[in-house]
């Protein structure tokens, strides 16, 4: 665990916090876009180390949280078809659809299987040629290359009983939409895992067009404090820029092979984000050349009309306009074991992070 412990050394973290306190004068509102960052900040109690003029706001970077109810409804409709086996990462199973969840459908007898990788889904398709295996592809640029690789692999192996229902999304348009929609920020803590794939170049337009800094951060306490320190310096000097704190994993160009795979299999389309609405060219649909592996085109199903839950303020939480504790359902009608909103389901959801790691006030 040495590779982690080095970034958790108390002296290092305390020194970074002290530097931030000394140098930060102007008010600084930063959004951590990524759910993994939200979780780490709260788990280590880093908020308690920051001066009062720095405000951290949680953003829309939890894939489960921004996924629409209609996607869950679509998956449920597919699950009800005979011969279909739905394969999914575990997080999605409790997410409420309009009138049901995959968990409830499973209890009612639908074939729904939790997998740890798309490769498990491919193996399942190989072993059960009489079944149709559908993989629920969610996530940003981080997980999308795996879905692309899965589709390419299925094509090579001639596994025509395998398909993907894609809700994959890309991050930059959402970061722009937040500012366009009036969320008041001075900078972003940029997502670490997304950026390993995309490189830092995809954020260049943010300082250029919006005058905001982006610092791409790792997930350990020293990483996050160093990233915040870099944003403090940008703000104090009034020089917003794209910088990489997480340089042990992220480069300017990113993982070119993964990017090639994404280009090969996916094309950009408009997509709906919880809290942000429809954002042009923010979703990844499967290209017509791979239609055989696209569950949207392969199966014709009737999807029930979408119903959002009244009282749940997930949308505003995802935009950083409200805190989970502002929600009247939080911790009462909505808990991780019995969630109302998606933000309480995912281990990276802002509400789940608040619930699990309460802040000392």
């Amino acid at each position: 665990m040495k590779y982690i412990d080095e970034y958790r050394r108390r002296e290092l973290v305390t020194a970074l916090a002290e530097q931030i306190r000394q140098e930060s004068r102007k008010p600084l509102r930063i959004m951590e876009v990524c759910g993994g960052h939200t979780m780490a900040l709260r788990r280590f109690g880093l908020h308690s180390l920051l001066p009062e003029n720095i405000e951290l706001i949680s953003g829309p970077g939890c894939p489960v949280c921004v996924t629409s109810r209609s996607f869950i409804d679509h998956a449920i409709a597919l699950a009800r078809l005979p011969k279909v086996v739905i394969t999914t990462y575990g997080d999605l199973i409790k997410v409420p659809g309009s009138t049901s969840t995959l968990e409830i459908e499973k209890a009612r007898g639908a074939k729904i299987q939790i997998v740890y990788s798309i490769l498990d889904a491919l193996t399942l398709a190989q072993k059960n040629p009489e079944k149709q295996v559908v993989f629920l592809g969610i996530g940003f640029e981080t997980t999308a290359p795996a879905s692309a690789a899965g589709i390419l692999k299925a094509q090579m192996a001639g596994l025509f009983n395998f398909s993907v229902l894609s809700a994959h999304k890309i991050m930059p348009p959402a970061m722009a939409a937040l500012i366009d929609q009036g969320v008041n920020l001075h900078g972003y803590i940029g997502p670490g895992h997304v950026s390993t794939i995309t490189g830092s170049k995809i954020y260049d337009f943010i300082p250029r067009d919006y005058g905001l800094g982006v610092v791409i951060s790792g997930f350990e306490p020293a990483d996050l404090l160093q990233a915040i320190h870099m944003l403090v310096r940008q703000r104090e000097a009034n020089r917003p820029a794209v910088e990489i704190q997480y340089s042990r994993a992220v480069s300017r160009e990113g993982n070119l092979k993964a990017q090639q795979m994404l280009d090969e299999v996916f094309e950009l389309r408009s997509d709906w984000w919880r809290g942000l609405g429809t954002i042009p060219l923010s979703g990844m649909g499967i290209k017509p050349a791979y239609a055989e592996f696209d569950a949207e085109k392969k199966f014709s199903v009737t999807i029930e009309p979408t119903r959002e839950d009244k009282g749940c303020i997930c949308g505003e939480v995802l935009k950083g306009l409200k805190k989970p504790t502002d929600c009247k359902l939080f911790g009462k009608a909505c808990t991780p074991s019995d969630p109302v909103g998606a933000c309480m389901v995912s281990s990276e959801g802002t509400c789940a992070a608040y619930y699990k790691y309460l802040e000392v006030s």
Binding site: M1, I4, G45, P221, P336, S337, D338, S347, L358, E359
Partner: protein
């Protein structure tokens, strides 16, 4: 009750279990005198005080690294008596067996129970057997009950009534081992982990602790982990708890698995760990005494009782931050014991 049906989370030892106990069981059975729920009930008899407890075991799989359901069933009940300051006198065991269970498996479990009981110096003196149709129960469930005699000087331990600000909190070793051992045995993750369950009888350790004096409370940190024990201890009491993350022992294997799987070691189950609240002037001596015991070589003082933040646990994180610790929300791992 919020839910109309029982969820797995109701058996987790966390917030839902707590709600079930309060709103269903205590509502009809009545609350214990003093209101505090200890691991064993204390009964006043002519010749002193008796402790009485019962526990059901449904762990899946039946055999896991470091233990099995039989060892767990004996140690669990012995520990519930021991942490209340009682010397175990006798146990009973009831078996619910699924039709078709190989006799060999049953006998292996029973032998393990006999061995563990012999080690604890307690006899299993009564029992019951029920067999249910295949598919109506999973292999084997065991319920053990136990009775013990409260040691002199240990009368107030079960009720936690002597706990006060300034007291220190000690644990006898690393946390999370049992939960992660069962997880490894069960999961299809193919994690080549060497985590062993800490399942063990703690009566000798508890006896030694009581002997060294100043013990105000003991509880074994089973389901819900260390966090659940401490949350229940300070709930509605006029004191809070300060915990120091860097003092809490967690083995490398458990830390690695928790990082990988997203568990908080504070919430992961143990079966051989006791949390001891001790008067500050007795704490160092207790720590030194216990460290000679094989089940407490990793003992550590992990926190203190404070008059600040009543009813709340503050965790001072390893990096110098602060956050609250609460009962685990829902089920972490079903059928862990």
């Amino acid at each position: 009750m919020k839910h109309t049906h029982i969820l797995l989370g109701h058996g987790s030892g966390g917030r839902l279990s707590h709600e079930l106990i309060t709103k269903v069981f205590l509502k009809h059975f009545g609350k214990p005198a003093g209101g505090f729920l200890s691991d064993a009930a204390v009964l006043n008899e002519n010749h002193g005080q008796l402790a009485f407890t019962t526990d059901g075991f449904v762990v899946d799989p039946l055999f896991f690294p470091g233990g099995d359901i039989g060892k767990l069933a004996v140690a669990g009940t012995v520990n519930d008596l021991a942490v209340c300051g009682a010397e175990p006198l006798a146990l009973s065991a009831a078996f619910i067996i699924e039709e078709g269970l190989p006799l060999e498996v049953l006998e292996k479990v029973v032998l393990s129970m006999a061995n563990e009981a012999a080690k604890a110096g307690v006899r299993i003196v009564a029992g019951d057997t029920k067999v249910v149709e295949r598919g109506k129960a999973d292999k084997l469930f065991i319920t053990t009950s136990g009775v013990g005699r409260i040691m002199s000087g240990a009368e107030n331990i079960a009720s936690a009534q002597d706990v006060q600000p300034g007291d220190l909190i000690l644990i006898n070793g690393s946390i999370g081992d049992h939960g992660m051992a069962v997880m490894t045995a069960r999961s299809q993750l193919n994690i080549g982990s060497v985590v062993q369950s800490d399942c063990a009888c703690l009566h000798e350790l508890c006896r030694e602790a009581i002997g060294s004096g100043g013990i105000h409370f003991m509880r074994d940190a089973t389901r819900g982990g260390l966090a659940a024990v401490l949350a229940e201890l300070c709930e509605n009491r006029p004191f809070g708890i300060d915990l120091y993350e860097e003092k809490i022992p967690v083995s490398e294997g458990v830390r690695g698995m928790c990082e990988l799987l997203g568990f908080d070691p504070l919430h992961v189950a143990n079966e051989g760990k006791v949390v001891i609240v001790v008067a500050p002037e007795k704490a160092q001596a207790l720590l030194e005494n216990l460290q000679f015991h094989p089940l407490a070589s990793g003992a550590s003082i992990i926190g203190k009782i404070t008059e600040d933040h009543d009813g709340k646990i503050w965790l001072h994180t390893q990096v110098g931050g602060k956050r609250l610790v609460d009962l685990p929300a829902g089920e972490q791992l079903p059928r862990i014991c």
